[in-house]
């Protein structure tokens, strides 16, 4: 098969993945809405003076399983799309922002599916599907560039090491971010007198806090490695391992914020809400680095291809 047909195949895979993620989105939306809104499956029982609604999630269990199946299928299609893109260009598919985005979406879905094996995170599915669809949508409409060879500075084994570590870290950071955001939302609800009906199925604050910590603790060494691998590569390519290039600066800021988050978790007074805010802040610095520095920033990391 020629390079061009591999590139076309990659595009078909990405479009199919988007279609499947849309189905996953609807399945998750249906699951969430059906369990909550339909009065016929809700039984009302009085508890003291309050009317407490309990919901029957058994009824939507099958939809939830279908949604997860769609997520897995979407992940596989996305994976094929990324691989085909790489084959079409005879290199790892991490040469411009379109390619970073499709791989990042894949890493995000992958992180979610992996975390799903140990924790029931299906309540997150709706958010994950939305985020992935938005990322892929932006990628194919705004960021798309034809498959092409790499510029000389990117021709290095370190591309594979540095970028893969950064993308995987990014996927997990964003997952931790959604969990931290959920924590803050639920925390606020509880402060104001209790969770909404739909939020009742979500885990307790403590579980969310712990889950968020585990994700960050798991991926922080990887992010440290990504930064160091980048430094080693920079020494090879640009003659200095650290030069406060905007991308480097923001990678450093992200690192510092997550380091602060990990320390905060150890310090008693910073657990819970403050830690969640820190996590959210750290994740935002990562996103800012990806979006702002790639597209509008100056410096040596301008590989967006835009």
């Amino acid at each position: 098969m020629s390079n061009t047909s591999w590139a076309y195949l990659s595009n078909y895979f990405i479009y199919s993945a988007m279609a499947v993620f849309t189905l996953a989105f609807f399945a998750h939306a249906f699951e969430t809405a059906w369990a909550v809104r339909t009065p016929s499956i809700a039984t009302e029982k009085s508890e003291g003076n309050l009317l407490v609604k309990t919901f029957d999630f058994e009824r939507t269990a099958r939809t939830a399983r279908i949604a997860t199946a769609f997520m897995i299928l979407g992940f596989l299609l996305l994976f094929s799309g990324v691989v085909a893109r790489g084959i079409s260009a005879h290199r790892v598919p991490w040469g411009n922002m379109y390619e970073f985005s499709i791989t990042g979406a894949m890493a995000f879905t992958g992180a979610y599916l992996l975390a799903l094996r140990k924790n029931d995170l299906r309540w997150l599915g709706l958010i994950v599907a939305t985020a992935v669809l938005l990322t892929l949508g932006t990628a194919v409409t705004v960021l798309y560039r034809p498959s092409a060879p790499l510029v000389p500075a990117l021709k290095s084994t370190w591309l594979v090491i540095h970028v893969s570590a950064a993308i995987v870290s990014g996927g997990v950071f964003l997952l931790a971010n959604t969990i931290a955001a959920t924590y803050l939302l639920l925390d606020r609800m509880e402060q104001r007198g209790g969770r909404n009906a739909w939020a009742k199925r979500l885990p307790t604050l403590e579980v969310l806090d712990q889950l968020c910590y585990r994700l960050v603790a798991f991926v922080f060494p990887l992010w440290t490695f990504a930064v160091i691998a980048g430094a080693i590569w920079a020494e090879h390519a640009w003659g200095r391992y650290w030069g406060w290039d905007p991308k480097e600066t923001w990678a450093f800021i992200t690192w510092v914020c997550y380091a602060a988050y990990l320390h905060a978790r150890v310090t008693a007074g910073w657990r819970g809400r403050k830690a969640a805010w820190l996590c959210l802040l750290a994740g935002s610095t990562f996103l800012f680095n990806y979006v702002y520095v790639n597209i509008w920033g100056t410096g040596k990391h301008t590989y967006s291809g835009l």
Binding site: P146, P221, I228, H236, Y241, G243, W244, A260, T267, G269
Partner: protein, 496 residues
């Protein structure tokens, strides 16, 4: 009385110092300093920095001098060398040292000591299990602990075992490794050097300070410490993508000599593979074209000859430059642009359509008058200050063509590529690298290490009691204790 009066402020000062030190080394302060460091790094990524982009800084000074002066007063053009940024990281590292060193001693002592005695009431501890003794439990447990590398203290009719010192070891290693990274960075900055030189293909670069276009030596590094190598640039090949015009490959062929006495050797420098001379590396950083011209005066004597490096303006290498001929009367200057593949743009005029030399063209604007070179004000080599000059000619030349103007002539003889070599010596990078590797190792150990204790006691009533405690509430101890209990039960049953 008088003694007391002197002592009170002295005591106050000591107490104040002790108080400040304790505040500085507290986790809360470290946390706040860490966040401050992150925030302090932000302006450097939004405002152009002298170290990375001196041209943009200069532009800002001409565009909005007021703002630039304020920025400059606040060190916002040199954020990462500014007093306030340094203050934050020095305080942070002091706080870190003050926290980590005492902890290291403590940890060292604890690691050599035996675990503390078994608690009296094991049934109040976590993971409590009990069963009736078959005999030999303590002996079997001793063996199991030894096999699993627990440190064991025999405490009467019980054993107290502990494992997982790696967690704190890793934690301390991580923080000490960060100090090492900082040391490597400072060492490199003090004893290293960094410089850049533009070299035309065909020319030879000799590593002395005068050969550089710009050079910065570390504070404790001097000119005589430059490695005595020479590099002759033989050939430069650039490959571009025919569809996207993007560069695909740069290869630089050089002849290098380690020192004037050593033998010549043929080497290749590429973007991701620098050429090394000991601790000094030579990097291929940028490239462009130098038109080769010959300028003659009215009497047909050559007043200027040679390649002149032009500065690329876009990805198709549309380049601008200046040819200054001060030895003519009046002085002559050529404001020029070089188009490797000449094309016309409705708005921009003459531009290049491809970065290779497919149809090169040199656009010249000839100026006569005073070049202003004698006034001692540094000038850009790519630009001419034409305020005291007047334009006396305008011409576009193809290679081989000659243009004759009132005061002389210029011939466009050809084009040679130039390369920008970056020469760097960083003796501290090894420390920084080792520090980084140790930091990751320490981080992994501290995040995934589990410190836990397991106790086993055989009571006078013939009961076996087992309990455990996991520090930092890390999961996994329940499973470990289950394995432990099963191992002991099965072994003692067999022995019985």
């Amino acid at each position: 009385m008088s003694n007391e009066k002197i002592e009170i402020p002295a005591l106050g000062l000591a107490a104040l110092l002790r108080f400040s030190w304790r505040q500085l080394t507290s986790m809360r302060t470290a946390l706040i300093l860490l966040l401050m460091l992150g925030i302090a790094a932000i302006p450097g990524s939004l405002i152009p920095q002298r170290g990375q982009n001196p041209m943009r800084v200069q532009e800002l000074f001409t565009q909005s001098p007021g703002l630039a002066k304020i920025y400059d007063a606040l060190s916002l053009f040199d954020v990462y060398a500014s007093p306030w940024f340094s203050a934050i990281y020095i305080l942070l590292f002091l706080s870190l040292i003050g926290c980590v060193l005492p902890r290291s001693f403590e940890h060292f002592k604890a690691a050599r000591a035996l675990p503390p005695a078994t608690p009296k009431n094991l049934d109040r501890m976590e993971h409590f299990t009990t069963w009736s003794s078959q005999g030999n439990e303590l002996e079997v447990a001793q063996g199991w602990f030894k096999k699993n590398r627990f440190r064991v203290k025999v405490d009467g009719n019980s054993l107290s075992a502990e494992k997982g010192f790696l967690r704190e070891t890793g934690n301390l290693l991580f923080h000490l490794a960060l100090i090492m990274v900082l040391f490597g960075v400072s060492f490199g900055a003090l004893f290293g050097m960094k410089g850049e030189a533009i070299v035309n293909v065909g020319e030879t670069f000799v590593n002395t300070t005068t050969s550089y276009d710009s050079i910065s030596l570390g504070r404790l590094s001097n000119e005589s410490s430059l490695a005595p190598f020479t590099i002759t640039v033989n050939k430069f090949l650039a490959k571009y993508n025919a569809l996207t015009n993007a560069p695909e490959d740069y290869t630089l062929y050089v002849t290098s000599k380690k020192s004037p006495e050593s033998k010549e050797s043929q080497k290749i420098i590429k973007v991701n593979s620098p050429l090394g001379f000991g601790s000094t590396n030579v990097y291929l950083q940028a490239n462009g074209y130098s038109p080769i011209v010959t300028v003659r005066d009215k009497g047909n004597t050559i007043v200027f000859q040679g390649p002149v490096p032009f500065l690329p303006q876009d990805s198709n290498l549309t380049s601008i430059g200046a040819i200054k001929v001060p030895d003519m009367k009046p002085q002559i200057g050529f404001v020029a642009s070089l188009l490797p593949t000449a094309a016309r743009d409705k708005v921009k005029g003459g531009i290049s359509a491809f970065p290779e030399l497919l149809d090169p063209s040199l656009l010249l604007s000839v100026w006569g008058g005073d070049l202003g070179l004698d006034r001692g004000v540094p000038q850009s080599v790519y630009r001419i200050n034409t305020s005291k000059m007047e334009q006396i000619g305008l011409q576009s030349l193809k290679p081989g063509e000659i243009y004759t103007f009132a005061d002389g002539s210029i011939s466009f003889d050809g084009i040679t590529p130039w390369v920008n070599l970056q020469i760097v010596r960083d003796p501290g990078k090894g420390f920084a690298l080792i520090g980084s590797i140790l930091a990751i190792a320490g981080l992994l150990a501290s995040l995934f290490g589990r410190r836990r204790r397991i106790w086993i006691r055989v009571t006078a009533q013939g009961k076996v009691e087992v309990a455990g405690l996991a520090k930092n509430a890390v999961a996994g101890l329940a499973i470990e204790i289950e394995t432990f209990v099963n191992a002991i039960k099965s072994k003692t049953e067999r022995m019985a």
